[in-house]
């Protein structure tokens, strides 16, 4: 069972829910796909970490073979190539690594080399296998690192919890792509509802089953409750706002390990998700 935990809005509690679900499940894998700002590792504090770099490909131009035909420059739809003083030149942060210039060169003058964009760290916390994707600072695109994190974590048959980035753009789509079920963590506020609606649309387009967890609830927020009813999406549980949980979270402590009611809550949530997935 592969569960993606997402929210649209940031700060609703994706990492809180993902980390605790992973700990509640036996022998789970936790994959942190929020590669721009990964946080799960702060709670899980994994040990025996192995790190591997993630590369994208950049073109190299062999000036001996280059005939100056400029087919590479003309082909590149991203304008990542310029032709200066008889030589092609690539601008790395614009290049999408599509390999087009390599293909169109009639003289075989274009090869590719690996350019590091991030790393994948793989460690363990008890019986939880912890995979963290980290994007290098200054790199614009999270997607290659997310892909590598999923490739590292999704080997084998373990139950997996995928902690997704905020928003509903490309990084989220990539993170959700391999999942069987999506847990949408919603915050009972106007902003939370607005962004939840965007991810529900996305999840529906991807034809994924989903359920909602309402987090940090003080009083029921009727527009959110109404939206859940109308859209027919099951509310899996409602987690009350609690200063205890806020403080545990601030100190990067795992609620499941320190708070009895959280243990009960996440055991129940896990059972409900398993029941939903079986349907």
């Amino acid at each position: 069972m592969k569960i993606a935990v997402l929210s649209g809005k940031g700060g609703t509690g994706k990492t809180f829910v993902s980390v605790n679900l992973a700990v509640a499940t036996q022998n789970a894998t936790y994959i942190d796909c929020d590669v721009e700002e990964p946080n799960g590792h702060l709670f899980l504090k994994p040990e025996h970490i192995q790190a591997n770099p993630v590369h994208t490909l950049l073109p190299d131009f062999n000036t001996d073979k280059c005939t100056g035909c400029r087919k590479c420059v003309d082909f590149c739809r991203f304008n990542a190539l310029a032709f200066i003083k008889g030589k092609p030149k690539v601008f790395p942060e614009i290049c999408h690594s599509c390999g087009g210039c390599v293909l169109v060169c009639p003289a075989g003058a274009v090869a590719e080399h690996g350019h590091p964009v991030g790393r994948i760290e793989h460690g363990a916390f008890g019986d939880v296998s912890v995979v963290t994707g980290v994007l290098n600072l200054g790199e614009a695109s999270a997607v290659p690192v997310i892909r590598a994190a999923l490739a590292e974590g999704l080997t084998g048959e373990r139950h997996t919890v995928i902690d997704c980035p905020p928003g509903s753009g490309c990084p989220v789509l990539e993170s959700v792509s391999a999942s069987d079920y999506c847990v949408l963590v919603a915050e009972p506020t106007a902003f939370g509802l607005h962004n939840l609606q965007m991810v529900v649309e996305m999840v529906r387009l991807l034809k994924k089953s989903c359920g909602i967890v309402i987090n940090k609830m003080e009083d029921p927020y009727e527009p959110l409750e109404g939206f859940c009813r109308q859209s027919g999406i099951r509310v899996l549980c409602r987690i009350p706002y609690s200063e205890t949980l806020a403080k545990l979270n601030a100190a990067a402590q795992i609620a499941y390990e320190h708070d009895e009611s959280s243990r009960v809550l996440f055991d129940t949530l896990l059972q409900r998700i398993e029941a939903e997935v079986k349907l």
Binding site: G8, K9, G10, G11, T12, T15, E36, E37, N39, L42, F75, R77, F78, H96, S97, C98, G99, G100, L103, V104, L135, L137, G138, E139, A140, S141, A142, P165, P166, G167, S168, G169, C170, P171, L173, E187, T189, A190, F191, H194, N195, M198, E201, M202, L205, E218, Y221, E243, A246, K247, N249, A250, A251, A252
Partner: protein
Amino acid sequence: MKKLLILSGKGGTGKTTTAAAFIGFAKAEAFADCDVDAPNLHLVVQMDTKPEQTTYYGSQKATIQPEKCVGCGLCANTCRFHAIRFEAGRYAVNEYACEGCGVCAYVCPQQAVTLEADIAGIQALYRGKRVFSTATLRMGRGNSGKLVAAVKTALSEAAPDKELAIIDGSPGIGCPVIASISGVDMVLIIAEPSLSGFSDLKRILKTAAILGTRTVVCVNKADVSLENTEAIEQFCEAHGIPFVGRIPYDHQASMAINVGMSLADVPCPARDALQKVYAQTMKQLQGGAA
């Protein structure tokens, strides 16, 4: 025009709430929402004009013409983005994964693949006494950086003589954040006093530094962990980053937002704290090097 950008690194720290409050305090007549992935500012700034809407075209997307396709699969094998799959007896392009590179069109021996214009979002510009520029990116589209740049350009062009522009940014450190930082006079980072928030703060600070932008920091929901708030304040001091204040957790804040009100109009502890943060931020913005 002096441009103040509000960022956070971590999501959910209070960027939009702060932006809305600052707009009220400053009686700002120019503001923008650069969180094109998940824009929220329009929910709290009450504009009384209808916006001008512009379609935003992103990169082109590939389409396979089924009548020409012979099913050789060369496109799918060459696509670096896993954007072409064999489904229901034919090869088809996944519009969410396609990056519009044109390699599939190049390799197809039947010339069955074309690249077409793709609507990637909608830009909205409200023009009146106040100018508000915002946009929404369509599901799963990239090019968020270019749309962010377009939102800022629309604001500068529609309100060139306004003194101050407040820009609500997005979480993270990637493309849309980098695009929003370009050309602003100062960044205010809203930090959260948790270990996650502190970790994310360091990454966004480094990102702003790489781009050479002046940055100031405040902590929201400071009383959730005074220990972490202290640590953040000390970190800023050690690194020469002006710390512009603390805002307490205030239940009334979300109640106000939920009814579309800016905190500038709601008497509460958060507002009082925000006013002080605003004063300090403006002092830094006006007093700083151009």
